[in-house]
Symmetry: C2
Subunit: 298 residues, 2 copies
């Protein structure tokens, strides 16, 4: 691996583990790599094993591989709190190509526990799933940030705010995510919905590709994984080498992936179908509100 | 409604409530109608309301309506234990057109409870879902009967047997369901798989129609409902007026249907995708084992 250059904390992370309360946080380098500290309880090792297995599997089509972060192995480097050396998984920095990324983190599945987990863990997840929208919608928001180009400000509510949303508030948040006035609680314009969600190469078409794969694949069950949606919030910037119209859909968080045992991941797939429906409804509703073309006069 | 004629207990029911232990059981008449006693706790009334709403909804395509029993209203008749009058929901007798129906009852969803149920009810369902294949497979078997034409005998294991199956045993049961030697625990021939599961108009094509509807519909969430698969076990009989090649797919048990609130039923849909995959795998595995055509000689 080439030189890291300077490692520093990522500024565009919207959910997951941060360097706080004695935890060691993630780092990024200048070459587009994200250093994720290996978590305790073998979760970190588990995630590394998933990445190794996933990227070694030659049956996975390239169009599906594009929906996962690249993996560059593990690495021991100075911890973010400078207390010593720490082991990191090195993966693709998903916001590297963006100047002002707007990002939303959607935790998938109506249940975030997996069969066989401890009773205590299941109980904790059941409570969270019932208190958030997971049980009802099949997914919940874990974090988001939206760049407002007019004010050059970023709307970035906290995790607690995200988890407390009702199903209708999740719909509103998905609308604010594609608005040029995301700070508006009552009248977000949703004017980027067609570009971000609807167009060829946009979110919906990428989610449909993911769905096709989940209808077939029986290798992995993704408990507690997230889908990230990312687009360039500063439409005046040029996006460097960014694939697919600058709208990026990526799966992340694989500490609880288990062997699929020849069964499809119906929990993830059900939530994915629900997310596709909700985003389709949002896009269609906004489409209806656009001013109609004036009728042709003869 | 025309005269009932003689009402008698159904002989082809494989799961659900029976006339035993003080319970009033269902009845059938000679005209193809099934009388289901209205259950306590408003469950019966709830099921009636579902049928009324479903059959009044003109947006549901006929191809989907065909996957549900017809509904003929409610009726007060002499109870099956002759203790007095009882209120029944009158629906289509799904095995009416068959001489020796082979039937399997598959309870759908990785969870059989619905958000908002009592904690006690959720706990009971969670236990059952974890102990059966519901949590792992997204569905479980609730009952089955398979007619063996050579011996004129019917294999009909009990509910306890069904609920105790492992995922691999469920696969085997789905193979035995389409075998001419269903009593064989070790070497069922699966020779009816192509006819029952695979052919146009067979189980898989009907399940795919159902899946398309579930990807769109947001009116109903079907907690604890079942899919019945039915075919004529006596291949020498002529099936009277039977639609679609004599293989019937029907949804039943709507006592726990709740309003979808503009969200798709990701729990049912996830289980349905899993069932489609498992049946496809069974059909493909059996197809591979069929003797190959001898190569053409020149």
């Amino acid at each position: 691996m080439e030189e890291d250059g300077l490692l520093c904390p990522p500024i565009n992370q919207v959910a997951g583990h941060y360097a706080e309360g004695g935890n060691i946080g993630p780092l990024i380098d200048k070459a587009g790599r994200f250093y994720k500290p290996l978590q305790n309880n073998q979760r970190g090792q588990h995630e590394v094993e998933f990445y190794e297995k996933f990227w070694a599997d030659q049956t996975i089509p390239p169009i599906v591989q594009d929906l996962f972060p690249r993996f560059y192995g593990t690495r021991s480097v100075q911890a973010s709190d400078e207390t010593g050396m720490c082991e990191y998984a090195v993966i693709e920095d998903l916001t590297y190509h963006f100047h002002h990324p707007s990002v939303i983190d959607i935790k998938m599945g109506s249940r975030t526990w997996y069969p066989g987990a401890t009773e205590e863990y299941i109980k904790k997840c059941l409570d969270k799933d019932g208190q958030s929208t997971s049980a009802l919608l099949g997914f919940r928001l874990s974090g988001l940030q939206v760049y407002e180009i007019a004010t050059k400000a970023t709307w970035k509510p906290g995790k607690e705010w995200c988890n407390a949303l009702s199903t209708e508030e999740v719909r509103l948040a998905l609308k604010r995510f594609v608005s040029t006035n995301p700070f508006s609680e009552t009248d977000p314009d949703g004017s980027l919905a067609s570009f971000v969600y609807g167009e060829p190469g946009g979110v919906l078409s990428q989610l449909l590709e993911l769905k096709s794969w989940f209808e077939e694949q029986t290798c992995f069950h993704f408990s507690s994984a997230s889908i990230l949606l990312i687009y360039e919030g500063d439409s005046k910037s040029t996006i460097q080498n960014s694939p697919r119209s600058g709208v990026s859909v990526k799966l992340v968080d694989f500490a609880h992936v288990i062997n699929g045992q020849n069964i499809i991941d119906h929990n993830f797939l059900g939530g994915l179908c629900s997310l596709i429906k909700v985003i389709s409804q949002t896009t269609a509703d906004l489409g209806k509100k656009l001013p109609e073309e004036p009728p042709l006069t003869t």
